[in-house]
């Protein structure tokens, strides 16, 4: 029990700090793509460090902004919606293994908050609960534009959930387990003479692309950001201000973190760098570098973070590259391209698996 609380505090503070710096990365990366510098004025004790403290300044600003609640809203739903959005984005992060599980005496302590053996199902179900935040936000605002925006977002998220789930089936056929930690373990074997790791992206390239696209649509980022459409299409949180809007905003970035973490876990070998085994590195060209279990965990945690940041970098790059989809194009892409492709992927994968067996 105590351990669970400690793990929860550590992991969620890790997640929130990472999210803060994802916002900074987003600002800086978009700036550099557009030949600008980006926020670099936040100053602590005369130190600017080119914007290192900017996320904290942003957070402070969010806290101290006026939180205006319009008189016509449906108060309970209105208050609950940002909470739902944030909580259901944050909780699945706890299911992701940040390093291999540790054996303390008899007990095996997994290094994720929810060391569940059905992690995949858990994450997917919590992800789909996240739309309650959206639809309650739209409904509770008692604003027809907000409601329409909420409906639009719900339809989008539900449609892409199908493609998301189906693209994962192929992965689950190759790595037959629902335990995220176990899936990571199974990716730590090597093919082609021991050189190439059995990462999901090498075994299931199509599923990786489909998962990435569906995931981006799922967390409502550009080019699928019709629900938010900050200035052009009115989204579901138009009646929110101050910290409640801030919670929607943070939930958005937590979902980016979650998508990057899930992609890392399913397709990039999770927390394992190439050639790392439970007792240290064993290189295919001979030679090995043995590490104590604690150091193995540290290396795994650092590797996970590096892979995560590479994925976040890629997601933000995608965000600042493409224009927004039109709504019918969005639905076409989801139902007419992603879903059939993921079904084809399942059939091919299953066929190959059957032939190999």
């Amino acid at each position: 029990m105590v351990w669970a609380i400690v793990k929860a505090v550590v992991v969620f503070s890790w997640a929130l700090v990472t999210v803060l710096y994802i916002t900074l990365l987003e600002r800086k990366e978009s700036a550099l793509i557009q030949d600008r510098i980006g926020a670099n004025r936040a100053e602590v004790l005369g130190l600017r460090l080119n914007g290192f403290f900017q996320p904290f300044a942003d957070a402070l600003k969010m806290f101290f902004k006026e939180d205006y609640i319009p008189p016509f809203v449906d108060r309970p739903f209105y208050m609950l919606a940002p909470l739902f959005a944030l909580v259901f984005a944050l909780v699945p992060v706890g299911a992701i293994p940040l390093a291999d599980s540790v054996k303390i005496g008899e007990r095996v302590v997994s290094l994720s908050v929810i060391g569940s053996n059905v992690g995949v199902v858990l994450v997917l179900s919590l992800l789909s609960l996240g739309i309650y935040g959206v639809i309650l936000g739209g409904y509770g605002s008692r604003n027809k534009y907000g409601l329409v925006g909420g409906m639009r977002a719900t339809a989008q998220v539900i449609s892409y959930e199908v493609a998301l789930g189906l693209s994962l089936i192929g992965v689950l056929l190759v790595f037959p387990s629902l335990d995220l930690n176990e899936i990571v373990h199974m990716q730590n074997r090597y093919i082609l003479g021991g050189w190439v790791p059995r990462w999901g992206i090498f075994l299931q390239p199509l599923a990786a692309v489909l998962f990435l696209i569906a995931g981006m649509a799922e967390n409502k980022r550009v080019p699928f950001d019709l629900p938010e459409g900050e200035s052009e299409i009115i989204g579901y949180f138009l009646e929110y201000s101050g910290m409640k809007f801030g919670m929607f905003f943070v939930a958005d970035f937590v979902e980016v973190l979650l998508l990057a973490a899930l992609f890392t876990t399913f397709f990039l070998g999770g927390y394992n760098p190439p050639y790392l085994f439970p007792d240290g590195f064993h290189f295919p060209w001979g030679g090995s570098w043995l590490l104590s279990p604690v150091w193995v965990r540290v290396v795994q945690f650092i590797t996970f973070n590096i892979k995560l940041w590479i994925m976040v970098w890629f997601l933000l790059l995608v965000r600042w590259t493409y224009p927004r989809y039109r709504y019918d194009q969005l639905m076409d892409l989801g139902w007419k391209n992603l879903v059939p492709l993921s079904i084809v992927n399942i059939i091919i994968t299953a066929g190959i698996m059957a032939v190999i067996k």
Binding site: L32, I33, R36, I37, L317, W320, T321
Partner: protein, 153 residues
């Protein structure tokens, strides 16, 4: 499939911008290079160079012995299309042939920065060559620039 490659092409463009600017700006930031790579001008610290003929804040010139060059001839006030120059003339006790301004006020809130006053001035007493773009004040009354403000920029 063709669309997919087009999308990848788009990613290449943004990634190229990102990496090029990141590389150039990092070199600049640690002081290894003068080239910033980005177009941002960090304004209070860095300023864009103004053109030599740009017309910004006015200044009143003095003669070599320290007196104002202005002889309160009212030509600038007459030429001003915005009527923003207010002059009060008085006798100059030391030089009985000349007048001098007791008050010379330009209301920068009304001024259109057309430069007609500078062209009208026969004594070359008024110029707009300060190249100071900060022309804002917190009060309208502070926009009334008198002799003191106009001579000491």
């Amino acid at each position: 499939m063709r669309l997919f490659w087009e999308a990848v092409k788009g990613l290449r463009v943004t990634a190229r911008h990102l990496l090029r600017n990141l590389w150039k700006f990092s070199l600049y930031y640690v002081g290894l290079s003068k080239d910033k790579g980005v177009v941002t001008l960090e304004y209070p610290e860095e300023r864009r160079e103004t053109f030599p003929r740009v017309r910004l804040r006015h200044r009143l010139l003095r003669r070599e012995d320290g007196r104002l060059r202005c002889v309160a001839c009212f030509l600038c006030a007459t030429a001003c299309p915005a009527r923003c120059i207010y002059i009060e003339a008085e006798e100059d006790p030391d030089h009985p042939l000349e007048k001098k301004p007791r008050q010379f006020v330009i209301d920068l809130g009304k001024c259109a920065y057309c430069g007609f006053c500078v062209e009208a001035c026969p004594e070359d007493a008024l110029r707009m060559d300060l190249h100071i773009p900060e022309l804002a004040e917190y009060n309208r009354d502070d926009l009334l620039y008198d002799i003191e403000k106009l001579t000491k920029p």
